[in-house]
Amino acid sequence: MLSHIIFLGLFYAVLAVVSATVAVSLFRSAQDFRARRAEAICWQETFPDLPARERVCRHEFTGELQHLICDQAFECRTCQTHAALLAKHPPGAGEADIFGLNFPLDRFYHRGHAWAHPEPDGTVTVGLDPLGARLVAEPEAIALPAVGAHIETNGAAWHVRKRGAVVRILSPLDGEVVATGGAQNGWYLKVRPEGGRLDARNLLRGAEIRPWIAREMERLHSALAPANQAPTMADGGVPMDDIAAGYPDADWDAVCAEIFLEP
C-alpha cells in the first residue's frame, strides 16, 4: 500500500509542480503589470531576437571596443563597461551636420531614433531624429499616448503607420507624458522624467552620433537593397525627405523594423 502511495504521490507531485510553475508565472506576470515593468520586460524579451548587427555596443562605433554585441538590452545605465569607458573617454563635442542631416548637439539620441531634449522647466521634449523622420515622412497615421500616460525607457513611446507598416518608436526615458505634439510641431511628446531629471546615460551624444549614424546608413542601404543583391550606395547627395517615396518596391515593414529596432 505504501509503495502505491509513493508511486502515485510522485506523479501527482510532478503535476503539482508543473501546475505551480504555470500559476507562479501568471502571478508574476500580473505583478509585472502592476509594477509597470511590462514595457521593460517586452524590450528585454525581444532584444535577443534582433539580428546581431542591430545589437552592436555603442562603444564599437567609436572604436573603443571591437566586435561586442550588447547583452544588456541597451541598458547602459547599469552597464559597468559603459561606465568605465565613459569615465575614461567622455564623448567630445562632435558635429551637427552628418551626411547632410542635422543632428542638433543640444539633445541626446536613442538607438531607436528618438531624441530627448531637457527643457528649462524640468520636462523633456521627445522627437524623431532626422533619419527616423525621413523614414516615416508624412505617415498615414500616428498613435500618441494620452497625456498622463507613463512611458518607459525602451518601451513603446508612440506608433506610426507608414506604407502599411506599423512602427513603434522606442522611448528614450521613463516618465509621464505631459503634452503631445506631432511631426508638424517638430516634437511628439513632452515628458516629466521619473526622478525629476533626465538620466541620459543610455543615450548617445556629441561625437558618438556621427559613427552611429554612419553605421545606421549602412544598415539602411542593406535593408533597401533588393533581395539577393548587394547594397549600392549613392555617390554623394543627401537622403531624400521621404525615403519611402524613392523606394516604391522596398518592403517597408522590414526596412522600418531594421532601423527602429523591431524584431
Binding site: 502505491h4 509542480v17 508565472s25 501568471l26 511590462a38 539580428p51
Partner: protein
C-alpha cells in the same frame, strides 16, 4: 491567396502561400485518410487490424517506441541548455521542443487508437494498475506531454502577431524564467518512462528472446532504453535541422551546431553500444540458456537471421559512433548526416526487434514462427501520425521562430 507575411517572423524568407498550400495539401489528405482509418478502428474495433491476442504489439507500438526515443532530443537538449547551461543549444532548442511535442502527442494519439475506448482514457489515472510498468509509462508520457505543451507555449507566444500583445510577452518572459524547473521535470519524466519502456522486458518471462535480468527491479534494458534514446534524440534533431534547411533552401544554424549535436550523439552512443554488446553476450551465455533456449535458435528463422543483431550493433551502432567521435569525419556533412541517419535507423531497428521480432518468435518448441503484416487501417493510422508531425512542424517553421540564428544567417 491571402498574404500571411505579417504572421511570419521578420527577417526570414518563406515560400509563397501557394507553394505552402501545395506542400500542405498532400499531407493533409494523408492525415484525413489516416483519421478515417483510425475512426474505423475505434468504431469497429481492433478487428480492423492484423493484430490478435498472440500478436498484440504491432506497427503502432513499434511507432510509439520509436518516436518516443527520437523525441528524446527535446528533454536532452533542454537538460543541456537549462540545467548544464550549454548555451550552444539555444540554436535548436525551439525546434527540439516542437519535435518532442510532435513525437509525444503522436505517440499518445496512436496509443489512444491502440488501447481503444478513448473516452475511458482517464481510467488509467483513476484506477491505476500500480503493478504494471505501462502504468508508469502512461503517467510519465502524459505528464511529459503536458510539460512539452507548456514548453511549446512560449514559442507560440513569440509569434510576430501574438508578441504584440504585451501580456503574452510578459507571461512568456516569466514562464521562460522557470524553464529550468520544467526542463528538470521533463528530464526526470523522460528518464523514467524511457527506462520503464525498457523495464517491461524484466517481467517478460514468457518471451525468452527479450527477457532480461539486471539490478534489483531494473533489467538491463531499463538502462539501455534510456541511453539509446538520449543518443538518438540529438541525432534526430541534427537530421531534421538539415532536412528542413535543404527543403527550405536556407541556412538555419551556424555550421558548428550540427557537428556538436553529432558529437553529443556519438559520446552517448558508444557506451550504449558497449553496454548493449555486454548485455547481448550475457543473454547468449546465461539468460537465454536458463530459459531453455540456445541463443542461436532465435535466429534460425529466415527473416530475422543473425544479420539483424550484427546490423543493430555494428552497422547502426558502432559504425556511426566511431564516425561521430572523429572530428575530421564529423565535420564532413556527408559523413555526419550518414552517421546521424544510421543512428536514427538503428534506434528504429532496436525498437522493431524488441516488439515485432520478439512477438514473432516461438516461445515453446512446438510454437510456429508467427508472421504479421499490418492492415491498411493500421498503416494509414501510422502514416497519419507522420503527416500530423509534418504539418505541425511546417506550420511552426513558417510562423514561429524555430531557429533563432536563421535571421542573422540569412543576411
Amino acid at each position: 491567396m491571402p498574404d500571411d507575411t505579417q504572421l511570419m517572423p521578420r527577417g526570414v524568407r518563406r515560400c509563397s502561400p501557394h507553394q505552402f498550400l501545395l506542400w500542405v495539401l498532400p499531407w493533409s489528405a494523408l492525415l484525413a485518410f489516416g483519421l478515417y482509418s483510425a475512426g474505423l478502428c475505434l468504431v469497429k474495433g481492433l478487428n480492423q487490424t492484423n493484430m490478435d491476442n498472440r500478436f498484440a504489439f504491432g506497427l503502432w507500438i513499434f511507432l510509439d517506441l520509436t518516436v518516443i526515443a527520437l523525441g528524446a532530443g527535446a528533454f536532452f537538449t533542454g537538460f543541456l541548455l537549462y540545467i548544464l547551461k550549454k548555451s550552444e543549444f539555444k540554436a535548436v532548442i525551439n525546434s527540439a521542443v516542437v519535435i518532442g511535442f510532435i513525437c509525444y502527442s503522436g505517440a499518445v494519439a496512436a496509443l489512444l487508437v491502440d488501447v481503444g475506448q478513448p473516452l475511458r482514457f482517464w481510467f488509467t489515472f483513476w484506477h491505476p494498475n500500480v503493478h504494471s510498468m505501462l502504468t508508469e509509462v502512461t503517467f510519465c508520457i502524459t505528464c511529459y506531454l503536458i510539460v512539452l505543451c507548456i514548453e511549446y507555449v512560449p514559442i507560440v507566444l513569440k509569434n510576430r502577431k501574438l508578441s504584440q500583445i504585451p501580456s503574452f510577452l510578459v507571461f512568456e518572459f516569466e514562464l521562460h524564467k522557470l524553464m529550468p524547473v520544467l526542463a528538470g521535470v521533463g528530464t526526470f519524466l523522460s528518464f523514467f518512462h524511457q527506462g520503464s519502456l525498457g523495464g517491461l522486458y524484466g517481467v517478460l518471462r514468457g518471451r525468452p528472446f527479450a527477457f532480461r535480468e539486471g539490478f534489483a527491479i531494473w533489467p538491463s534494458t531499463f538502462f539501455l532504453f534510456i541511453l539509446s534514446a538520449a543518443a538518438a534524440g540529438p541525432a534526430f534533431i541534427l537530421l531534421t535541422t538539415w532536412l528542413v534547411s535543404k527543403i527550405s533552401g536556407k541556412p538555419l544554424v551556424r555550421p558548428e551546431v550540427l557537428p556538436l549535436l553529432g558529437r553529443i550523439s556519438g559520446i552517448l552512443l558508444l557506451p550504449y553500444i558497449l553496454l548493449k554488446s555486454i548485455d547481448t553476450l550475457i543473454w547468449i551465455d546465461s539468460t537465454s540458456p536458463a530459459m531453455g533456449f540456445a541463443a542461436h535458435q532465435f535466429y534460425a528463422w529466415k527473416p530475422f537471421g543473425a544479420w539483424i543483431l550484427f546490423a543493430e550493433i555494428v552497422v547502426f551502432g558502432l559504425l556511426p559512433a566511431l564516425i561521430l567521435l572523429r572530428r575530421r569525419l564529423r565535420e564532413s556533412p556527408a559523413w555526419l548526416l550518414s552517421a546521424a541517419t544510421l543512428v536514427c535507423l538503428g534506434i528504429a531497428l532496436n525498437r522493431f526487434v524488441m516488439t515485432i521480432q520478439t512477438l514473432a518468435l516461438p516461445t515453446l518448441p512446438f510454437d510456429p514462427f508467427m508472421s504479421y503484416l499490418p492492415s491498411w487501417q493500421e498503416t494509414a493510422t501510422f502514416l497519419a501520425v507522420v503527416a500530423y508531425g509534418v504539418l505541425i512542424y511546417s506550420f511552426s517553421f513558417r510562423y514561429l521562430t524555430l531557429f533563432p540564428q536563421e535571421k542573422d544567417l540569412s543576411c
